[in-house]
Symmetry: D2
Subunit: 364 residues, 4 copies
């Protein structure tokens, strides 16, 4: 329910306006030097209040690591951590105690549990994703030992899509703009759209794309633990995610086999880190075939809906079923996508490290 992963397993807890959120990372391999700077950097990438494109809500997101690290190195025992909730304006939410906000989890939590912490969305708040970023940072530290690298970026905001192929060089630009789009010109247009929408008290959706390089062949466990099935599950567990595709994804539905089959060719051996005997000429498959990584770059995309909280009046009902008008107070993102980029990376890192560890059991 609140855990993900089989050998590398994250469990999270916490409501947005409770004392703290936090989690336990179980199965972190022993012997990894902890890169606290990396952890802080990942937290800053997710944090609200980064720019005018994101909520002005400030969250310090100071991570307190409580266990599992000894003299700067992971010990193989579980890593417990908490993040205090300091800058919460719970009063902003008082009137929400009896309101079901449109397209929020208010109603479904009330139906399921019979009780809910209404303040700031409670458990359903995207604040929970901070815990995922913590675990993702640790996973990245371990993956780095194996040469596996994960990069995500904003590929679409509203109807503005990044049309260019993203090259290795372009990736360096992702963090240079507030939208996290690796193409500066597209980033500008995306930012303008977000500010427009924000001005209307409205919100807008978008797409995050992710690429995993350096992944050896052999990760993923058919038939139900296919690597892309695990990625799909992980991505769809992120707040506001509505769709997942890998490789050519939905576009493949329109294509013929002769157009999208990835032909194998002998590996020329130019890359000394790549000792595969073959590689594929194209990568429509997205680096995964039959649920198992083939050594090509893994690529996938995650669609996010527009944030449900609008700064304009909306009709809805209260918990007695009476029609009312609702208008949000509080501080909210006009577009979740720029802050979703590090979350997508974090979930990808969690899935990949788990797959890597599981794959060690494959052969005698």
């Amino acid at each position: 329910m609140n855990s993900i992963g089989k050998l590398f397993c994250l469990t999270t807890f916490g409501e947005s306006h409770g004392a703290a959120i936090g989690g336990v990372i179980d199965g972190m391999p022993a012997g990894v030097e902890v890169d606290m700077e990396l952890l802080q950097q990942e937290m800053r990438r997710r944090r609200p209040g980064q720019s005018s494109l994101t909520t002005p809500r400030r969250e310090d997101d100071a991570v307190e690591v409580l266990s599992g690290v000894f003299e700067g190195v992971t010990t193989g025992t579980p890593i417990g951590f908490i993040i205090r909730n300091n800058n919460q304006h719970s009063n902003d939410y008082d009137e929400l105690r009896h309101i079901f906000r449109p397209s929020h989890a208010d109603y479904t939590y009330a139906e399921k549990y019979g009780i809910r912490d209404h303040r700031g969305g409670g458990r359903s708040s995207a604040r929970e994703t901070a815990c995922r970023v913590v675990a993702g940072a640790f996973a990245k530290m371990a993956l780095k030992h194996h040469g596996i690298r994960i990069d995500a970026w904003t590929a679409q905001v509203g109807n503005i899509a990044l049309e260019r192929e993203v090259t290795e060089e372009m990736l360096a630009n992702t963090e240079s703009n507030a939208v996290r789009c690796p193409d500066a010109e597209t980033a500008d247009r995306m930012a303008a759209l977000i500010l427009d929408v924000k001005g209307e008290g409205d919100t807008v959706g978008g797409i995050v794309e992710c690429r995993i390089t350096g992944c050896p062949p052999g990760l993923g466990e058919p038939v139900f633990g296919k690597l892309h099935a695990r990625l799909a599950e992980a991505m769809m567990s992120i707040n506001a995610a509505k769709g997942f595709e890998y490789g050519d994804g939905f576009d493949m539905a329109r294509r013929k086999g002769s157009e999208v089959n990835d032909v194998f060719v002998p590996n020329n051996g130019n890359d000394s880190n790549d000792n595969r005997i073959v590689r594929t000429l194209t990568n429509h498959s997205g680096g995964i075939q039959g649920g198992i990584s083939n050594g090509e770059a893994i690529r996938f995309r995650v669609a996010f809906k527009p944030v449900a909280t609008l700064l304009q009046p909306q009709p809805t009902t209260d918990s007695e079923g009476r029609s009312i008008m609702s208008k949000a107070r509080g501080r909210h993102d006009p577009c979740v996508v720029p802050r979703a980029v590090p979350i997508v990376e974090a979930m990808a890192a969690i899935v990949m490290l788990d797959a890597l560890l599981i794959s060690r059991a494959t052969r005698i």
Copy 2:
């Protein structure tokens, strides 16, 4: 790895050209009268050789239920079953022992396991999905007790998409044509496309859409067991699946919050089976909010790539990394989508029954 589900759990085994495929259904609730006719009907829907649109390969797919049923009623103990592999032409595959077919799992299985059963794709064959249909049929029997119904259909083949909204009445038509599209005219065009593509020795992709009705509010387990995350995982575990979306899905990336928020309204009480105090005016959310069902129809779509096996020559390599030309023999589908319809339903039924059983633990 080869299991899915927490309380209602399917484990499958078997290679396409081994002695048999089969599985174990663990957690089937006791006291369900077994509807063998439903089981056989579901198997027929998935079976090859149904029409000129599918592979002429014949598979009897006779399911032998070995346990868990006593005097026609489920006993709550595991249901073991096998399906013998009778009509296999293993010789068709002899030359594949040392070939990596493009966009198949040949290469990745070889890399992962160091050994593979090359006959007919071995474990990676779509024949494995017959076991999912068995488990799905049992799940449907249980879901029927709770008024939950699952209907899937072909929504797109190549560039031919079903444009009409699918009504309750139209669903009756799904099984009346070989494509499994509930609109007869669209079905005809889809069938013509598949036959064209088949004539070229090529294949084509498509999309299956699924709708779940009668689902009570409260199913799904945040934050990692969100109902749509479980559905995504299950659907992406189906052979050839490349994408998943629920509700308005990827389209939501282009939209504003004010366009796609689902406003709550008082429930008029016209449906005596629906005692919710509110309902939503629209259903962009696809019946799931915050990972929990809200009582509206659950809808999602799964994209399938074109079948990788072409009846035309393709360049590829052998297991020594030497370039060769490959041309399939054997009997293959030009389009997987019509036969994927019952598989999508089966996986949805497995997920929904599991979610239903888990939800019973929610409250004291």
Copy 3:
């Protein structure tokens, strides 16, 4: 690894001399009023420094509940909690950095992980059990709603065994003496033995017995989730546990079937809470038959070895394999059994609540 339970699931973290220990309780049913007094009482029962029979080490064991409770009631979301490590004398352990203490986990942790936090046993410290007591207290709150009660007591210390049958009335005495033996006279003799042993700088083992009453028939999941298998797993996960038996246990190995079979008799209906149609005349089975509770009292026993830390010199080796003499400093228990009583209860409560929740999925 660091989680136990399927639907009611505890995950713990923390080293004895790190910043804090803690855990996450996932699957706590919603709607339970939180009894903080019960929680504190259970913590006091486990805490060191209770009497001259236990270590003088003081641990405040103040539990900080961080989530999952709203306005005094459980919400169904995970309960995160931490217990700060305040009163640690880490310097007592400096010389242990390179020593493998006899019958401790020093050597095995070093071999397994290649790194270990040597201070106070690190992760292997019995301090971790404080987290189990927290989860056990929450489980007890839920079990109380269903009339299930758990009582454990000290049944043996060294060669002094409680010979009398423990009646309902005697249970009230358990907490009235430092040994937690429900018979005052036996308790006195046990206490004297512990003090003797302590005077020698030595330690002594013992047995905890546990009885669960009010359990309905039907809990437990054959064939691998048998109720006693789950209890065995849980009990054997407690530090220093060496054996588990239920019902007549090891004594049954010496007996004939005609001596220990439990004959069924009609239920006389004297107990209005017990609507079973039959009951058993005797209870050699210990309340579980075929892995499923039968409605009789569940009883089991757990053997604990003497604490490995002695306040007398012992030969051992350092991490280079050199022979040395070791003598403990620090503050240690001469007998773990009195403090193990609440831990056994806590683990039993965790198992029973999990079994109760799982059993709800049994029938359609």
Copy 4:
């Protein structure tokens, strides 16, 4: 419920008088040559009808392996298998449809599921353990690659206990007598007791002891996946098991720390397969410290109750709660212990292989 193991996972199905029993072994490492002779030998050891000490019931127990093996080598895909039920006398059980036999699972299954297959105990029959022996044989094949060996024997029948230390040489005798006691003289006395008891229409309990040698240090996953906790869970899941202890077990409850601590000494290096820097002088711990193997022999004992089915009249009730007399027909074991020996080994092998595979994830 019907699965055990995390990476090496066995799922079983089947009732004793249904069409077949069987199972799925998931996670068998690829590349193991399958030793069918070993498999058959293990099945013969468990099979009824071996000698006058066991039930005259004949079960052919012919194992049909359906998948996961290709050209004599494991492929890493799941191994499905079935064992047909051929020699069942279901009519022997007709009158049991409405009877709750004393100390059987009849009543608890009826209470839990509301329906049960009464023939031969149905799912609760010990026939299910044949599937465990199949999985255990495969696990042994894998463990052999790593030099891990598992030997169990009958250590006690009724009040006749094997008093001698069991040496390596004695183990060769285990299979030379029907009781499976490695000491011939004790075996004779045990056999005589079993025949006596059988003559009375009665049954008798006993103890199986098991020793695992060649296990490297580092297996086992604290704090809930301790190696002995996993062993306890697995052993207690065997039919008729009532107790588990490892190392000095329950005897340790009576001892002082100074008597049972295992002192570390430098490893003399006489065994070239043992590159540990230290070893222990004694092995009261039973090869496991802090839940992790230390490289010494792992030893544990399992207590079994006398078989509940007596060939003499016993009072009991029917399913309406009416008192009746019951007398078994059918063919039953007077003592389960000799046939439990290979089952204990099988469960130990399953646990050890799983632990071995999991331990590969420990370090970066």
